[in-house]
């Protein structure tokens, strides 16, 4: 019997809290809703950390391109070890390495097109990711029977996620979090003022590579949960929402992490509510992104309040 069947929106949190002790001690297995909640939260956490820096560097469309080409790595990896039933039951480490290499290849190719072949940046980003992605789709169609992989790639398939897939996500978030805590100051300086960073002894290029490394790790992790396109929402929207209210980078990061937890919890609970009260099965990741969008619009509309609220008095928030 599924613990969350016929549970409404508010009851969801009650059931979750009552089960939390059992989950931590390992007495209970994770139910699908909890898997979704944790996965979405972890993806949201990693993405909000990364997204802030990507947005400041104006590199979000590059992130979009990288997230597309991750598929090529996954497909090539699958062709190499064809014995597994589904791609995601395979060796996660190998999957990460393959996707990381394909992400790296994307960056190198884009750079080569822009710098050596003198192609404009927009066009080279577009050319590289569409060609890699179409190649990946062709390979999927020719060599595997998983023709749905293409659809899964663009949609995400969080509803089919399994308990075992949480662990890599946890590891990934831990890596992301600890590296960001460790290099936060350097990353901040390098993002805002490269020349200044260089005089202080930081290497801006090294930090850019680090950022891209973490990005490709995160994209592989997010691939299964939210797909190549929705991950963009997790990168961009929480930052933009919080940015309206604050301009301290560290505070923005804290609040956007908090927001991503909130969105994940509300999204999963709402999806469950719709299922149990109205018999409407819907995609949880899609719902979370729509909630994010609504939150952003809401926050935009409320931004007029900044003129009234006492704590914003005398502060200019562009």
């Amino acid at each position: 019997m599924h613990p969350y069947s016929e549970v409404s929106f508010f009851e969801f949190f009650g059931v979750f809290l009552s089960r939390i002790l059992g989950l931590i001690t390992g007495k209970l297995d994770l139910a699908t809703d909890e898997v979704q909640l944790i996965a979405l939260f972890l993806v949201g956490l990693s993405c909000s950390l990364l997204g802030a820096f990507l947005l400041l560097k104006k590199m979000t469309m590059v992130a979009n391109s990288l997230s597309h080409t991750v598929l090529l790595g996954i497909v090539l990896c699958y062709l190499w070890i064809p014995a597994k039933q589904t791609i995601f039951e395979g060796n996660f480490f190998l999957l990460f390495v393959a996707s990381f290499i394909s992400a790296l290849l994307t960056l190198v190719t884009t750079h080569f097109f822009t710098k050596t072949l003198n192609l404009q940046k927009e066009a080279s980003v577009g050319l590289v990711f569409t060609s890699f992605f179409s190649l990946a789709i062709l390979l999927v169609n020719v060599y595997t029977k998983h023709t749905h992989l293409g659809i899964e790639a663009v949609m995400g398939n969080i509803d089919a996620m399994h308990q075992n897939e949480i662990l890599p996500l946890v590891l990934l978030t831990a890596i992301n979090g600890s590296i960001f805590l460790g290099v936060f100051r350097g990353m901040k300086v390098c993002t805002f003022d490269k020349t200044h960073a260089f005089t202080l002894g930081f290497s801006p290029r090294l930090y850019e590579y680090l950022l891209l490394f973490l990005l490709s790790l995160t994209l592989v992790g997010a691939f299964r949960a939210v797909g190549v396109l929705l991950v963009l929402a997790f990168l961009v929207i929480p930052y933009l929402t919080v940015r309206i209210w604050s301009f301290h980078l560290s505070r923005i990061l804290q609040y956007s992490c908090l927001l991503s937890f909130l969105y994940a919890a509300v999204g999963v609970a709402l999806a469950r509510h719709l299922l149990s009260c109205y018999q409407m099965p819907i995609s949880t990741s899609g719902l979370v992104v729509v909630l994010m969008g609504i939150g952003y619009v809401f926050s935009l509309m409320l931004s007029k309040l900044k003129e009234i609220l006492p704590m914003y008095k005398g502060k200019e928030l562009a």
Partner: protein, 423 residues
Amino acid sequence: MLEAVKLLSFNPIFQVPLWTSILICISCSMMGALLFVQKKSLLGETLSHAAYPGIILGGWLFFESLASFSLLFGGVLFTLLASFLIEWCIRKKNMAQDTALSLVLASFWGLGVLLISRLQFAKVAVFREVKVFLFGQAATLNMQDLYLSCFFFFGFVFFLLLFFHPLKAFLWDPKFTSLAGLPVKGAKFLITSLLVCSLVVSMKCIGIVLLMGMLVAPPIFARQFTDKLSVLLVLSGLIGAFSAFLGNLIPLTMIQKGVNLPTGPLIISLASFFAIAAMFFAPHKGYVYKLVQLHKFRIKKQEENLVKFLWKNPEVSLQEIKDWGNRSFLFYFLYKLKKEGFLQKKEGKWSLTSDGLTKASRIIRLHRLWELYLVHQMNLKVDEVHPHAEEMEHVLTEDLESKLEQVLARPSIDPHDQPIPRQ
């Protein structure tokens, strides 16, 4: 292969998808060229994805009354909405273009994913129709799509022919265009709506996810061969049509071997392949051509430096040439210059022939002329002009030489008080 060509060209079942996809790809590639020259190629990525929730909603609400037009109608509406939102974010909210594009892309796609997961169970018939739009399949194209793409293609070409000059002005210099009294806002709206229509019309064939490729690859291909907008448009249209043709042909040959290839990704792969190949191998602009030119120049430079060395040191032994430096491929250069009659070897000593002397004095002459020019006309100091001249002596043409002569009034002494050799 030949069988497949016959099948494709004579069997009426394949005619409709073939012609529809060719027309679609031509208009898409030409539209892409317009975006390409504005450096806005990534706009296509966002707009094509933004159509998805529109297609779903259109199908959901109006499929009974409007059939497949409802999908296109919804798509056009949402894509237009997205383009206005992007503009609004950039204008009013001071967002970077990159940020605005990804924000709109992500939120519209999220809505699409949410809606499709509901549609899947609510209306199965519509869901099947919509599913095709994701990756595209030419086999699903029907007579109605052919008429539509035909209508759009001719409309687009008519628009281009009619407004070519104002369009050109607008693409390169919107401020000038508005000063000239032309309606810039109207032009912008017109181009956006044409883009939106071409995207939505193409989706059933190429698919939303990869549509971007059709906008980007053909113009990149065409750009390697031309600098003119008109040629760029025609050439990208042609390569788009060719990829569409091959994209319809290859699945036909492969299906006999039991491999089922999707048309959309195949067309994009082919177009990207052509574009990348052109970037390497195109004459004059290709990477390989440039490398060859560079190499040729390096050889010429080495050769001329050797001749210059022998002019300064007549009668040197091989060992002395080796000691001078520039040892890479030395034997090759010596052999080549000797064969061409510039060098001779007498009793183990190398020296210049009379032809060689003429060649050497020309190089020296160019070197000294350039030094003089830099000092007289560019006001550089005497002691800093030598390195510049070292490079320029290999570059100057006869044309430039006579112009330098004219400017400097046929000089005979260079800034270092050395004589400038006469021709």
